[in-house]
């Protein structure tokens, strides 16, 4: 069930109505926990009648793939609940650390097994073959549970924060289970910290504090981003990346720009809808995007793109590695490791590692640049300021080429083909005007569409549209929203593609 689907509207209307009708905070939490698991089940259950028929007849083999996904979710929750209590009750620092290590080992173990087992086996096999030692390593048919990358990070944030004494351990299991499985952020984030969410759980939410108008508007904006813009841009980028060698430089430029638009609108649209949905239920989630494509440098980009992941990596990985508390080389090593692992978090594939590596390089270069340019003249600094945003965006687009270059997995041979990286290399040459002889191009109207989207995005980043909207009376907002949704629906597909970040 996707946020943009009609059935989600029905589902949410029921959840919303019952939630606010319930008086007790505990009852509301139980209700939302049930709702969250129903939402989660929609991703793998297939037809409910068939699923329950198989269960009642004990036909376990007939159950759809992934029926066990909630087991992983519950196991992770139970383990971290026990770890939280264990840390709180530990008599010594050593024992506290031991409890934390249990949490990290189990959570990272689960993530590694589901996400990286085949990747490491295939990579190891490839390496052994390369050095002449022929291997017979076997891969497993592993299905990645939905949202595992997101909820294990949330779960770990709880254990680490309890360990760091930033958070009291949760005494009521319900509270932790609710936090980890809360449906707006369960499948694709934002990765909400325990320190942000758990204090909200303990206090009964008040309807009077819910800003319905801004939440509805945010949901609408997210809907337009995903259902209209991302779904419109997707076929163009798919068409381009299926055969980049056929395209001219301008074609490559449009193809990559469409992908940049697609991934931003897809993911930030999802996040907007998740935040709005949570707000309508009285809960506040973490901000995840802050107009990242208008960043003046790559460091700023990472403060504005997938904020919940980048701050998680900063606080729990980069700082744990030592952060910038050492020599310059030590800091750069930490930066690079953080970005490589951040890349790997997206998927078990070398293209994501390269993507992370390119960002790591850019972060290091930017640090050096800041140091070297401290004593430059005013004129040069102004010139750099003018070029900063386009240059940063250009580099981000270069990295998207590798991010998009997903390798193809051959189920028969269990081999991962290098087509993706090969195509990335061709795309890079065309995008940077250094090679390529293709002739295909997109129509000039494509660039007009891209320009219109950029202007709208800029107006929004300057809070011009938002300020105008807030000044309108409620009745005008209701009318415009009604008309706006009807118009937006003209540009949505009958059947949606899943959100890109669901695969991570």
């Amino acid at each position: 069930m996707l946020f943009v689907e009609f059935r989600f509207l029905i589902f949410f209307a029921v959840i919303f109505g019952v939630h606010w009708a319930l008086r007790s905070n505990t009852a509301r939490k139980w209700w939302l926990l049930l709702a969250s698991h129903t939402f989660y089940a929609c991703f793998f259950i297939g037809k409910p009648s068939e699923f329950f028929a198989h269960v009642t007849h004990g036909e376990w083999a007939q159950l759809p793939d992934g029926w066990w996904f909630p087991v992983v979710l519950w196991a992770s929750t139970c383990m971290d609940y026990a770890v939280g209590l264990g840390i709180a009750g530990a008599a010594s620092e050593g024992r506290r650390k031991a409890w934390l290590l249990v949490s990290l080992a189990v959570n990272l173990g689960v993530l590694s097994f589901f996400k990286y087992f085949n990747f490491f086996i295939i990579s190891a096999g490839g390496f052994l073959d390369w050095v002449g030692l022929h291997s017979s390593l076997h891969t497993l048919k592993i299905i990645l549970p939905y949202g595992v990358s997101f909820y294990t990070f949330q779960s770990m944030s709880y254990s680490i924060d309890v360990y760091r004494r930033r958070l009291e351990p949760v005494r009521r299991f319900l509270d932790l289970a609710f936090f980890i499985s809360f449906f707006p952020q369960l499948v694709a984030g934002p990765i909400v910290r325990a320190t942000v969410f758990l204090p909200q759980v303990s206090v009964k939410r008040q309807w009077a504090n819910v800003d319905v108008r801004s939440s509805a508007t945010l949901f609408y904006v997210g809907f337009v981003k995903k259902a209209c813009v991302s779904e419109f841009a997707g076929p163009f980028s798919d068409q381009f990346f299926a055969g980049p060698e056929k395209y001219s430089h301008l074609g490559a430029l449009a193809g990559v720009l469409f992908y940049a638009v697609q991934i931003y609108c897809d993911f930030s649209g999802y996040t907007d809808m998740a935040i709005a949905t949570a707000r309508l239920l009285g809960y506040e989630l973490t901000l995840n995007f802050d107009f990242p494509y208008f960043s003046g440098n790559i460091t700023e980009f990472w403060r504005r793109w997938h904020i919940s992941l980048s701050t998680w990596l900063r606080d729990y990985l980069y700082i744990s590695l030592g952060g910038n508390r050492g020599t310059k080389l030590y800091t750069y090593r930490n930066l690079m490791l953080t970005m490589l692992l951040g890349g790997l978090w997206h998927g078990a594939s070398w293209n994501f590692v390269i993507w992370g590596g390119l960002h790591g390089v850019a972060l290091i270069v930017h640090r050096e640049w800041v140091r070297l340019s401290e004593n430059t003249g005013v004129l040069l600094r102004r010139a750099i300021a003018v070029l900063a945003v386009p240059l940063t965006f250009f580099w981000v687009c270069v990295t998207w080429i590798f991010f998009r270059a997903a390798p193809t997995y051959n189920e028969k041979t269990h081999a991962i083909t290098a087509t993706g990286l090969h195509n990335a290399w061709i795309t890079l040459k065309e995008f940077t005007f250094t090679g390529g002889h293709g002739r295909n191009a997109f129509s000039p109207e494509c660039f007009i569409v891209l320009a219109v989207l950029a202007v709208l995005h800029w107006l929004n980043s300057q809070r011009i549209l938002g300020t105008w909207w807030r000044r309108l009376p409620d009745w005008a907002c209701a009318l415009l929203l009604g008309i706006g949704i009807a118009v937006a629906l003209l540009f949505v597909p009958v059947k949606y593609k899943p959100f890109i970040y669901f695969q991570f």
């Binding site: 129509s443 109207e445 929203l481 009604g482 008309i483 003209l490 540009f491 059947k495």
Partner: protein, 351 residues
């Protein structure tokens, strides 16, 4: 808002603590939203052209552009699409003294109510010369036309009368309660989708500015809508199985499809055709599917030509004229079209 004095002594406006909007205010806002939404959807729906349903829309658009050239059309499923050759029909009819100029609007999976909706759209074009409308007599399709719904194909015909028709036919069907509930939900969902015009603006943009993205096969234009199925080699086992199906079909005489909703829907569409100057003619192509054997149909009450009888039309059931048990190949289509034209011209003489 209320005025208070801040620490600097200046008067400022702050939200009043007792200024919470009333329930009536909320209700009014929600009502305004719904009116604006439904009104805009309705307005847009009424102004939008025929939706870009793959393969069906190009045929409809072609016919719309040439609507005054044709006096005879054929509407129905793949058995019409692959079974009737307009040029052969016109030649055979002309040979018998009835000049016609026909077009085949049949398409795969086009069962009622979709076929009735499609025919209504065709009639709404007011083709000036239209005299004969051949409609394949088919039961209502209870499942989905195209695998997993929704698609533009499954959505586009869900207007108020045809969704109502679909719901009534589901209610009257012999399906289980759970299956009926599932189909009710599906049709209701598709109705909402159709009324909210999903993707219709995008398809307009695409047609106008990005037409190269989809390549459409237009080879059917020269054949006036007919799409031939190739000749196939039937194995001995396949022929035996086909003969068994024919026996089963001929022995099956208890199939009941004449439910009130079905009869009402058929009456309705025939009435719609008769309101124009055209004549509605029902057709059952050669079939071995028992579910298409309308034994309960009061055939005398409806003007039509029914070829669902292997004993009466043995040539039309020869394996060498079939692509598969349900569809004719090109040679079969030629034979069937000729026989249909002969029946038609014979009847025409008596009109």
């Amino acid at each position: 808002m209320r005025r208070v004095t801040n620490s600097a002594g200046a008067a400022v406006a702050v939200p009043s603590t007792n200024a919470r909007p009333s329930i009536a205010h909320h209700a009014l806002i929600v009502a305004l939203f719904l009116v604006a939404f439904a009104g805009t959807c309705g307005l847009l729906h009424s102004r939008l052209p025929f939706p870009s349903v793959p393969d069906i829309a190009p045929r409809f658009r072609y016919f719309a552009e040439h609507k005054d050239e044709f006096d005879t059309i054929f509407i129905g499923s793949s058995r019409i699409r692959h079974g009737i050759i307009p040029q052969v029909f016109d030649e055979a009819a002309a040979k018998n003294g009835v000049p016609t100029h026909s077009f085949n609007l049949g398409y795969s999976g086009m069962w009622p109510p979709e076929s009735y909706y499609y025919l209504r759209q065709v009639l709404a074009l007011h083709p000036k010369k239209l005299r004969n409308v051949f409609i394949e007599l088919m039961d209502y399709r209870l499942g989905q036309a195209e695998g997993e719904a929704p698609t533009m194909r499954s959505v586009y015909w869900h207007d108020v009368p045809h969704t109502g028709m679909a719901l009534r036919l589901v209610a009257e069907s012999p399906l289980s309660f759970n299956e009926k509930v599932g189909l009710f939900a599906t049709h209701a969902h598709e109705f909402v989708q159709n009324m909210t015009n999903p993707g219709r603006g995008a398809e307009w943009l695409e047609q106008r500015y990005f037409p190269a993205r989809k390549k459409v096969d237009t080879s059917w234009i020269s054949r006036r809508g007919f799409d031939p199925e190739p000749a196939t080699e039937w194995s001995e086992a396949a022929q035996e199985e086909y003969r068994r199906q024919i026996r089963v079909f001929e022995e099956a005489s208890t199939h009941e499809h004449w439910r009130p909703g079905f009869a009402a829907a058929l009456d309705d569409i025939l009435g719609k055709v008769n309101q124009t100057r055209a004549k509605a003619i029902l057709v059952i192509p050669p079939t071995v599917r028992p579910e298409e054997h309308f034994t309960a149909c009061p055939r005398g009450a409806f003007f039509g030509f029914y070829f669902d009888s292997p004993s009466k039309y043995p040539r039309l059931y020869l394996p060498e004229l079939h692509y598969d048990p349900g569809h004719l190949n090109e040679a079969g289509a030629r034979e069937f079209t000729t026989q249909l034209a002969e029946h038609f011209t014979t009847a025409w003489m008596t009109w």
